[in-house]
């Protein structure tokens, strides 16, 4: 079976600053992939490229056998089919919550995809219930807490039940309870046909949310493997700025070792 996403030698620059440099990867349908890397490693840019919000300046990006180019996306039929199948949750929920109320926010995507009104109403209500935010239905976004905003942002894409979910730092800035809610949600999709690609720099959650980890370093894939393989490779994690050498003393002996920060566990 051909991969769902296939990227070959992809380059992308922000003005003169390179964000992706000759990146190649393939992601199969139903895979749960974690993109890990330090700040500025190209995770968010890669997600935008996969969501066809920006296009490669060099190289090729294919989705289900179709090239993701500005020309292809200009075709309404292809664009609607693509947007129906692929959805992105942005890192900053304020960017994604631009409607006057939570209800309007969740209804935005199905309305733009021109679903019938009755279907929109039914799906929005079901999604609000699923995400436990039905009580926020008429609330404007500026009156939501950080955790509530993130849930609404997730609901606003889950409402169309996309085949591919692109999540940009879904648990960043969330309290532990909201974090575990998001992780539980991603775990529920394990074994389904849903493809989930999550960008994160929180190593402690990758075992829960992914079957494969891609380590990004300076705009290219530095390593790929199972979460256990990647997390065991301390040299790689140190080089990619995902862990730091932690120095402390036992008795009079000072020693150092890689250190992973975690809210749920503290690994030595």
């Amino acid at each position: 079976m051909p991969p769902l996403f296939e990227l070959r030698d992809v380059c992308f620059n922000y003005d003169d600053i390179p964000a992706l440099r000759g990146l190649s990867l393939a992601i199969a349908q139903g895979e749960r992939v974690a993109l890990v890397g330090a700040n500025g490693s190209g995770k968010s840019t890669l997600l935008r490229l996969l969501d066809a919000l920006c296009f490669a300046s060099q190289g090729s990006v294919n989705f289900d056998g179709h090239p993701l180019t500005a020309e292809y996306l200009a075709d309404d039929q292809f664009a609607f089919a693509f947007r129906r199948r692929v959805a992105l949750v942005f890192q900053n929920p304020d960017v994604q919550l631009f409607n006057p109320t939570v209800f309007d926010e969740v209804a935005f995507a199905p309305l733009q995809l021109q679903w019938p009104k009755e279907q929109v109403l039914a799906r929005v209500s079901a999604t609000l219930e699923l995400m436990g935010i039905a009580h926020l239905r008429d609330r404007p976004p500026y009156r939501l807490s950080g955790g509530e905003k993130k849930r609404v942002a997730l609901a606003s894409v889950l409402v169309i039940d996309p085949d591919v979910l692109l999540l940009d730092e879904p648990t960043a800035t969330l309290d532990p309870r909201s974090q575990s809610h998001v992780i539980d949600l991603i775990q529920e999709w394990k074994g389904s046909s849903k493809t989930v690609i999550t960008a994160t720099h929180q190593l402690e959650i990758v075992e829960d949310i992914a079957d494969r980890v891609l380590v990004l370093e300076a705009g290219t894939v530095a390593a790929s493997g199972t979460p256990a393989e990647i997390l065991a490779n301390h040299d790689l994690l140190l080089r990619a700025n995902l862990v730091h050498a932690h120095r402390h003393s036992h008795g009079g002996v000072v020693h150092s070792h890689p250190h992973i920060h975690s809210h749920s566990k503290h690994e030595h």
């Binding site: 935008r48 992105l88 900053n92 960017v95 631009f98 995507a109 733009q112 976004p141 009156r143």
Partner: protein, 269 residues
């Protein structure tokens, strides 16, 4: 530390945010205006504003002002809220504009202040102008106070205002709060790192730099928002839900608004 003009303005916007939240509480109460369909409210109050503007007689404008008061009371809007938020502000601004009319309007003199003569016609003109603006702004404020912002937008859509204009209004309302919050956080952060008083020139530089950073932030935010819209299927034509239904009560309200407006225009000719 003493606050500069820009900082004070930003804090003023932040207070406006709090007021906007208070408005939503009023809009959720049970009252006369709140019981009507938002389209009827919007159309009816617009009609009364038009009637105020077209009326030339003081008695008619005063009657419309009294009607605004009655609607406010029946809609559970506190008179004190109107007085502080509307009447005093309008009096200050319109008073400045109306003040010269007291002296320059030719007519029967009622008092002489040195070289200036106050005329009866001048007093009438100034009073009519102030009362007219007070009444018109009171009707408009009642609409804003008694209607959730989302319903105002939906009502505008139902009244065939272009979708693009409504989307712009909605997003401006949404993001102005976010940017004001960002600006006040920037000022707070600056204050926390500033010891003593800055010279006026330094303050101006600081304010200019803050404005520049805020502008770049807003440009970046607008680009991001556009991408977020595109990601969810936006193709340049916003699709919205409009699910208002008119009841018999709404038709009665509409008829009363029409009657009041028509009588005021006819009597105020």
């Amino acid at each position: 530390m003493k606050r500069g003009f820009l900082e004070a303005t930003t804090m003023g916007f932040a207070r406006a945010l709090t007021r906007a939240m208070l408005s939503e509480q009023i809009a959720r109460q049970r009252g006369l205006l709140q019981s009507l369909d938002p389209r009827v409210r919007l159309f009816g109050l617009f009609l009364l504003v038009l009637a105020v503007t077209l009326s030339r007689k003081m008695t008619v404008v005063a009657a419309l002002f009294a009607l605004a008061l009655a609607i406010a009371l029946l809609s559970r809007v506190r008179i004190a809220t109107l007085a502080t938020r509307v009447w005093l502000v309008v009096l200050a601004f319109t008073g400045v504009i109306a003040f010269p009319a007291i002296f320059v309007t030719p007519g029967h003199p009622v008092a002489v202040l040195g070289p200036l003569t106050i005329t009866e016609q001048g007093l009438r003109t100034a009073a009519l102008l102030i009362l007219r603006v007070e009444a018109a702004v009171t009707f408009t404020t009642l609409l804003v106070l008694c209607t959730q912002w989302t319903h105002v937008l939906k009502a505008l859509r139902a009244l065939r205002l272009p979708k693009e204009a409504i989307t712009m209004l909605a997003m401006t309302h949404r993001y102005v709060f976010l940017l004001v919050e960002t600006a006040s956080q920037m000022f707070e952060s600056r204050r926390s790192r500033t010891v003593g008083l800055l010279k006026p020139a330094e303050q101006r530089h600081m304010a200019a730099r803050t404005a520049g950073v805020l502008l770049s932030k807003s440009v970046s935010l607008s680009n991001e928002v556009y991408l977020a819209m595109q990601s969810r299927g936006f193709r340049g034509d916003v699709q919205v839900l409009s699910d208002f239904r008119l009841t018999m009560w709404d038709y009665c309200g509409l008829l009363l608004f029409l009657l009041a407006g028509a009588i005021a225009v006819w009597m105020g000719r």
